[in-house]
Amino acid sequence: MSVVHRLVTPLSKDDIRTLHAGDLALISGTVYAARDAAHKRMIETLDRGGTLPFNPAGQLIYYVGPTPAKPGRPIGSAGPTTSGRMDAYAPRLMELGLAGMIGKGNRSRDVMNAIRDNICVYFAATGGAAALISRCIRSYEVLAWPDLGTEALAAMIVEDFPVIVVADCFGIDLYEEGKKPYQTI
């Protein structure tokens, strides 16, 4: 049976070393919401010599673009978006101390190497379970670039957000390993 970790952000390197591909985790604390357009702006900011709107050290970025919140709710439906589109940007953020990412889908070789070399972690949340996941989100506050709408950079406080370790810092990729017992073609 898989191990279930209870994690509170920010994560230390020691926390990350306990995580193995296939383990389940419940994440609580602040995670940062960013997807395509916010990543582009973060990297442009760094290229200009600027600093990011948040300190990435030990933090997690959740690749998400939520639906608008209904009245009385902190956020709308908020499942993971495809991580591969952020592959061009992710290694740079890991080099700045980012602990990991939450998303869905396969990563590039460069990203997998950066996860291993920088002692980071890549979690998957269940794609399509957006209404269920939004129940774990306590708050959502836009930090930068509100003009991007759903793609703005935001800080979210989550409680027991269920994820699975897909890529650990030991170079194991669950997307490759997980299918092997079931692959007959």
């Binding site: 209904k70 709308g76 499942g79 978006t81 889908g105 399509g128 379970a129 997980g178 692959q183």
Partner: protein
């Protein structure tokens, strides 16, 4: 000649947008339950449990099943004995999309231009509208919101006749294998065979938006649907791509006439939130 007002078209499209995004079709939900029963991977079963709970929450609270409420794809079969009054058909559809996506708290995911500014249009228009003139005095509107996670993993393969059935199977398998975990499996896979470049893609999209319980009426193509499903499920991708025996709920195949020198195969992948809603006016 029967009159149908643009206002009715607008309001119907708005209603369908919310219905499609918040209520998984009964047949897709049945397919999810069936997959839960036969999935061999414990992780896969856990993913399917989450998806079933998610669909229940979305329906009961009228919130989107998935945060990607998609580009709005509208299939409109317009009876040629219909006279649309009070405005243009396409304007009415787009006004309906804007209204439905605003009132339903759905995400606006459309950018006005793909390469330079990529500015969000703010109301999820324009819709992707496929209009067909048909017999009769009714309008059938089928709305199939389509997220990009799955849409981005589709492919067109311009095969030639000698590639034959094996070539078609390989094209589908290669596309699904390459898609991996990104399109949120278990998927519904639409395959369009024949036509030319654009028609094959349209066939694939229609197949994708078809119900999971339907079969192609031609028994040869119905059998191909079953064979392709079995092959795809042997890839081991599994629910959420974490490994398992159910990679797709269904493969739907549509075909059409083609050139003597051509065998186009388009594969359009839909995610586990295989959504659509329909109304007849």
């Amino acid at each position: 000649m029967r009159e149908i007002s643009a206002e009715l078209i607008r309001d119907t499209v708005a209603r369908l947008a919310v219905e499609a995004c918040c209520h998984l079709p009964e047949s897709t939900l049945t397919a999810m339950h069936r997959a839960r029963e036969c999935e061999l991977s414990p992780t896969g079963r856990d993913v399917l449990d989450q998806l079933i709970r998610n669909a229940d929450i979305a329906a009961s609270e009228q919130v989107p099943i998935c945060q990607d409420t998609g580009l709005a794809v509208v299939f409109a079969d317009i009876g040629q004995d219909v006279h649309i009054t009070g405005g243009l058909f396409e304007d009415a559809v787009n006004q309906g999309i804007a209204k439905g996506y605003a009132e339903g708290y759905l995400r606006k995911s459309s950018v006005e231009e793909p390469l330079f500014e990529r500015r969000n249009t703010g109301d999820n228009t324009p819709a992707v509208i496929h209009t067909r003139l048909v017999a009769g005095n009714r309008i059938t509107l089928r709305l199939a919101p389509k997220g990009a996670g799955s849409e981005n993993k589709g492919a067109l393969h311009m095969l030639v006749p000698s590639d034959g059935l094996e070539g078609v199977k390989k094209a589908v398998l290669d596309t699904v294998r390459h898609a991996g975990a990104s399109p949120c499996p278990p998927m519904v896979i639409g395959v369009g065979i024949g036509g030319n470049m654009e028609l094959a893609c349209l066939c694939a999209k229609k197949a994708c938006a078809r119900d999971v319980e339907s079969h192609n009426p031609d028994p040869r193509y119905a059998q191909l649907e079953d064979e392709l499903l079995e092959l795809v499920n042997r890839l081991g991708t599994g629910p959420a791509g974490l490994g398992g025996s159910v990679t797709a709920f269904k493969v739907n195949v549509e075909f059409c006439a083609t050139h003597i020198a051509s065998l186009p195969v388009a594969v359009n992948i839909n995610c586990n939130a295989a959504r659509h809603a329909e109304a007849v006016l």
